[in-house]
């Protein structure tokens, strides 16, 4: 069983996003970038399956300019067998529908039976790509998973989904796509020897233009503005009585 793990390079999640007012874009010049945290969890799950003997091969896929190779090297250093780099000439504004179409192409070519990916990327917060991919290639779909148990014959998987009302357990027949939530596992760090080893692992480059996929934007960002948390007056209180008095005066009790 081949596993494909799509991964995305994003602004480091512990870095504050800043807007460039002239370009009306989030300013990523010289910003610290990292693999999307949900993608790290997806990589970890795929590696666990490979190590347990359930998977034959793990393949990381990413789309972007040359810098995206860094993210693929991170996946390789964590332990993924090989990587596919879909190269774009410039910073295209690829949207989940485009990404899903590109991934559908690669999954068909690789005949992968399982796709493990993050439930959302922490930059655009769309939470769409896995679901859209499943619709395009008609794979069964398990979103927001915090539990993944492959059947002994690897024909199905029992998943636990974190949903608004609790945890839903479902069985998916393969081929399937799962999108992972935070509590599925604790991703490993790449060790120094593995970082060295990753440099010689196979990384195939495919020009996006060679895939013949229409990537004209469906959505145009007209403007962006920072809407970060605003500091408040922070009046100090020092007893329950004082607190309740304040809250009563504010009319929120």
């Amino acid at each position: 069983m081949k596993i494909i793990i799509p991964v995305k390079r994003v602004l480091d999640p512990y870095t504050q996003a800043r807007v460039n007012k002239q370009t009306q874009q989030v300013d990523l010049t010289n910003a610290k970038m990292a693999m999307n945290p949900f993608c790290e969890i997806a990589v970890e799950e795929a590696l666990t399956l490979k190590e347990s003997g359930s998977a034959s091969e793990t393949i990381a896929v990413s789309i972007g300019t040359d810098k995206t190779v860094d993210t693929l090297r991170t996946a390789l250093a964590m332990g993924v067998d090989r990587a596919i780099f879909i190269k774009t000439d410039s910073e295209l504004d690829l949207q989940p529908l485009h990404v899903a179409k590109i991934l559908a192409n690669i999954i068909k070519r690789e005949e992968a039976e399982l796709v493990i990916m993050g439930k959302q990327a922490v930059d655009n917060d769309n939470n769409q790509t896995g679901q859209m991919l499943s619709g395009l290639i008609d794979y069964s779909l398990g979103t927001f998973i915090s539990k993944f148990d492959l059947s002994d014959d690897a024909s199905s998987v029992e998943i636990g989904r974190e949903i608004d009302s609790g945890i839903e357990t479902r069985k998916l027949n393969l081929p399937a796509i799962v999108t992972v939530d935070l509590r599925l596992n604790e991703p490993r760090y790449a060790s120094l020897p593995n970082i060295m080893k990753a440099r010689s692992k196979p990384l195939e480059t495919i020009e996006l233009s060679s895939l013949g996929i229409d990537t004209s934007p469906r959505i145009k960002i007209l403007s962006v503005e920072e809407s970060g948390t605003k500091d408040r007056a922070s009046k100090q209180v020092s007893s329950a009585e004082e607190l309740f008095t304040e809250l009563n005066q504010m009319g929120v009790l």
Partner: protein, 308 residues
Amino acid sequence: MSALILIELNGSDVSANTRAAITAALNLSDSLDALVLTNDASNASSVSALAGINSVKMIVDDALEHANVEVASRLIADVMNDYSFLVAGSSTFSKNILPRVGALLDVQPISDVCEIKSKNTFVRPLYAGNVMATVETSDETIVMTVRATAFEHSGDGGSASVETISASMPSANSEFISLQESVSERPELTTAERIVSGGRGLGSKENFALIEQLADKLDAAIGASRAAVDAGFISNDYQVGQTGKVVAPKLYLAVGISGAIQHLAGMKDSQVIVVINNDPDAPMSRMADLVWQVDLFDALNELNAYQV
């Protein structure tokens, strides 16, 4: 230019986020229909009573009890031939299904709409809500989810006609096994007027009971930070933040929460924020209207004992 609202039911009640979707959709179209996928036709009564809905389209089948996403997305995509807009409230229910509908329709959906500028221009959050983007879509059919905290929740008072649509059930390649549902007598987190939220500082599941006690005293819902959920103090459906639930109550009382940006993203629009923490440098404290810098156990004991 009519719009279809995808109805999310909690039992036979229409969810609060669906009511927000109706308010939002009235900015897009004067003519709203509702789509209900259910195994129980009697659920339609709560839907036909919704204000603003002209007609309820219902697909009833045993297979729809725990809506299988492959089945639901196909059924919805087929109904969409007659509509220009598909709108649902943001939830794990809609976020599971709507993007797949989008793919079937060759449409790029728009997630978590917070403001409707025009029929094709919307405001939505990026980067955990630290950036708000105004986006314009060129798709002819528009598929979107809307934030329940950004729109009024429409009420009842309607008397829509109900039409049962006969549809053959598409085949499914997955099946429902079980639902471990969190049952609570307390107000629902995303619609509560008051929330008492606990973090890693509580230290244990047993100590988290102090949060529950205070919530009951204030008739509040319970919330939690990711750290508290990860540590097993409370289950996942109480998590507030970028990847959990987004809330905007009148009162958000944060106890032992340091305030990672992912948590702040989920509660920063609360009307009054109270922080109880012994760390004056915690990011959470800067967000607070009221700060009580104290050992949180001392504070919880005093609050729980206080006669209001």
